[in-house]
């Protein structure tokens, strides 16, 4: 099997991210929460590699600590949305008829709200904490997964090999699990990777509005949000977390693409 460039680059970026997140649990250059007003808004230097923020906290340490928070939230959200979305969309596509219509009517109603608004509403009800965030964002992204899965299931179940499975005498349910769902993996994998990016951004947005992970705990999103007033005088405050988000998205997308190709036997030699 050949190692392609996108597998290597994507893998390296994600490995770096995970490594950082794990390291941050044990060690960071400074305490990410320690306020040092004497060292406010310092430029990157040999002491503070990425400078300090408006409270004199070390940006590198906060980024490292934020990595674990952001990644955990994004990953948990994607897993939640995909699991529930696949079940909902699969059931709708499998049963068709009235069940499908009702499920999809609710689904489309949810889809009509901007995801962030939905998450906001849920956050206000549950309150701002990490698991609340995951639940809120997960709920917001379930409808798009369900839509994609239902469409894929509907198109795959018209394929001849599904009819072949029926002719053999397999039950509809068995055909669904053994033939339909595995062939629906590719679009879901693509969706899941791009969703990871959206969730990172949504987490930032919610944190920005004060409904994400509550301060002073750092996440990339609330760091980015907090850096806004200093954009002109201390650009490193926004560049550092922004770059982290961008590189993570790049890594996830590259890895997602190669994962999708890997999962498809037809592409294994490509």
């Amino acid at each position: 099997m050949r190692w392609r460039a996108n597998t290597i680059i994507g893998g390296a970026l994600i490995a770096l991210l995970l490594g950082t997140a794990v390291t941050a649990a044990f060690w960071t250059p400074f305490d990410p929460l320690r306020i040092n007003l004497k060292a406010r808004l310092q430029q990157p230097s040999s002491m503070y590699w990425l400078g300090t923020d408006e409270f004199g906290r070390d940006v590198l340490s906060r980024l490292m600590a934020g990595a674990s928070a952001s990644v955990v939230v994004a990953l948990a959200t994607v897993v939640l949305a995909v699991c529930i979305g696949v079940v909902v969309g699969g059931v709708a596509g499998y049963l068709r008829g009235w069940t499908d219509r009702i499920i999809m009517a609710i689904n489309d109603a949810l889809l009509a709200f901007p995801g962030i608004l939905l998450a906001l509403a849920v956050m206000i009800v549950i309150g701002a904490n990490k698991s609340g965030l995951v639940l809120a964002l997960g709920l917001a992204y379930i409808p798009s997964v369900a839509r994609v899965v239902r469409g894929t299931v509907l198109s795959i179940r018209e394929k001849e090999y599904i009819e072949a499975s029926r002719v053999i005498g397999n039950s509809e349910f068995y055909s669904m699990v053994r033939h339909v769902l595995p062939n629906a993996v590719a679009p879901v994998a693509v969706l899941a990777t791009s969703m990871f990016g959206w969730v990172l951004l949504a987490e930032s947005a919610l944190s920005f509005l004060g409904l994400g992970v509550p301060p002073p705990a750092p996440t990339w999103g609330n760091m980015l949000a907090a850096s806004r007033p200093y954009m002109e005088t201390a650009a490193w405050l926004s560049i550092a977390p922004g770059l982290c988000i961008a590189l993570t998205l790049l890594g996830i997308n590259l890895l997602g693409d190669s994962l999708r190709d890997r999962l498809d036997p037809r592409m294994a030699h490509g």
Partner: protein
């Protein structure tokens, strides 16, 4: 003697990346007004050679040597501008798949007008006038309506006529026809090719017909070039090549044509295995706001008996309802009326024993295998429903079955790694691994090359003799039917118009439709094209 219209000299085409030679040292010439056939199987490089003439090799392939001269002009050295001017104007091409070679978003008229507007200076009205004339010329019933219609409104045969009309509008000197009728049924095939010959003769166009069907070659072409793996095997007059092939490969091709075997003494038809009475299937009309359009009866009152171990062929053009009949007999599409008795009892869609005993071999071996399962798993799947089979027994049976279809050791492969013929063998193995007593084969060989077809038909016959299943063989290819069938049923418009033993139907057809089908079937005819002209 004048110089030929087209000469291809030592043409060599390579795949850019791997350096694989696709066409190697191929030379041939086409005289003015000549009908040349290029014969070869998939992978013989015949399409690549044709595309090289147009300078339209697919990405990845490049011409590595040789010269192509059209009318004294070297096509290898002409500027891209000149090449574009030649395409369509001097060399026209008709593609294999009429379903995808017309743009579905543009009306037929606009597509036909494109070429004229590009190559000639005509007013809009003149263009339309010429298009309508040409549409009438290819026997399209309502040219005015067709001109404004969209491709999806037409059947494959009609689309191929439209394609032909739009190409011939420019009166090219050379027409390249790449398997133009492979996707069509026998009757439309005959009509389209007859039209092509007629138009070519009227305009003095030379034709290069690319095909794997020797019957068509014998009916239409004067000379033929046989290609194999990118090399010319044999060139000569059609009569010589078909009646006295010099090379072993050509002989193999000629031998691969389905032949009638002597009618084997079949066991006396006692109790019918399957018996169908008054079967009706209709497809629902479109759902409108408050009502439903009237349905279409795809199968309309069919009575049919099939004895144990017997092969009954169902023949008919596209839309005759033969495929629907096959599916309805397996209870895969709901019937609107009639009854189906299997071993004497009435069966429904939920009859477990019937489902396990009756199997289907699909038309398209490319889409009927799950792309995410290995060959071994695919063949093993039906055995899930055989009670009390241990894993070792099951694996043994799968290996045995694969060996039986000539694919020993393929269990770990993926379907996409196999050729069409191999996939069909897998599909057959899957259908009979559970030893069914009734198998429906839906156009099983229509997508395959001649030699592969012959092998698969032979395999099918052998397996049938061995396992003794009865078979409903659905096909529009009368030549294949002649080889395998015991009895033949002819369908038209959802009804059976004639049925009888194979010899009766083939030698003493009663119904006009049967006669038309038989007449349209290309058979090896050593009298050559002269004969065709006399009859056409």
């Amino acid at each position: 003697m004048t110089t030929p219209l087209l000469t291809v000299d030592h043409l060599r085409i390579e795949a850019g990346r791997t350096g694989l030679v696709v066409v190697d040292d191929v030379s041939f010439a086409i005289e003015r007004g000549e009908f040349l056939a290029v014969v070869g199987e998939s992978g013989s490089g015949k399409t690549a050679a044709a595309r090289a003439i147009l300078g339209l090799l697919p990405p990845g392939l490049r011409r590595a040597g040789g010269r192509i001269r059209l009318d004294g002009e070297d096509l290898a050295t002409v500027a891209p501008n000149r090449m574009r001017a030649l395409r369509g104007r001097s060399v026209g091409m008709v593609f294999q798949e009429p379903m995808v070679s017309l743009n579905p978003a543009i009306s037929v008229g606009a597509q036909m007008a494109e070429g004229l507007a590009l190559h000639e200076t005509l007013t809009k009205r003149e263009i339309k006038c010429r298009c309508l004339d040409m549409l009438a010329r290819v026997q399209i019933r309502d040219p005015e309506h067709t001109f404004n219609a969209y491709p999806h409104e037409f059947s494959g045969g009609m689309r191929q006529r439209i394609m032909l009309a739009s190409v011939m509008l420019l009166k090219p000197k050379l027409l390249l026809a790449d398997e133009p009728t492979t996707a069509l049924d026998t009757l439309s095939q005959r009509e389209v090719l007859d039209l092509m010959v007629e138009l070519a003769r009227d305009h003095g166009t030379s034709v290069m017909l690319i095909t794997h069907n020797l019957g068509l070659v014998s009916r239409y072409a004067q000379r033929a070039v046989v290609l194999r793996q990118g090399r010319v095997v044999e060139t000569g007059s059609v009569r010589q090549i078909l009646s006295a092939p010099r090379e072993a490969y050509t002989r193999q091709l000629v031998d691969a044509l389905p032949r009638r075997r002597a009618a084997a003494p079949r066991r006396a038809a006692g109790e019918a295995l399957m018996s169908v009475r008054g079967l009706k299937v209709s497809f629902c009309g479109r759902q409108r706001l408050f009502r439903r359009d009237a349905g279409v009866a795809a199968v309309n009152g069919v009575d049919l008996d099939i004895g144990a171990g017997e092969t009954v062929a169902v023949v008919g053009g596209s839309g005759s309802g033969k495929t629907t009949l096959g599916r309805a007999m397996l209870r895969l599409v709901p019937a609107a009326g009639g009854e189906i008795r299997f071993q004497g009892r009435d069966v429904t869609a939920h009859d477990r024993a019937f489902r396990l005993a009756a199997q289907l071999v699909f038309r398209d071996p490319y889409s009927s295998l799950d792309p995410r399962m290995r060959v071994g798993e695919i063949v093993a799947e039906p055995l899930r429903h055989v009670a009390g089979l241990s894993v070792t027994e099951r694996n043994k049976r799968v290996a045995g079955m694969l060996d039986e279809v000539g694919l020993d050791g393929f269990a770990e492969r993926w379907p996409h790694e196999l050729s069409g013929g191999q996939r069909l063998r897998i599909a057959i193995a899957r259908a009979i691994v559970r030893h069914p007593s009734f198998v429906v084969a839906d156009e099983p060989v229509s997508a395959l090359d001649m030699t592969i077809q012959a092998q698969v038909l032979k395999l099918f016959e052998r397996l049938q003799a061995q396992y003794g299943f009865a078979c409903l063989f659905i096909s529009h290819d009368l030549a294949a039917v002649e080889q395998v069938a015991d009895r033949v049923v002819v369908m038209q418009g959802g009804r059976i118009v004639e049925q009888g033993t194979r010899d009766d139907v083939f030698d003493r057809p009663q119904h006009d439709y049967t006669k038309a089908l038989l007449a349209a079937t290309p058979v090896l005819d050593f009298a050559g094209p002269a004969n065709m002209r006399a009859s056409g």
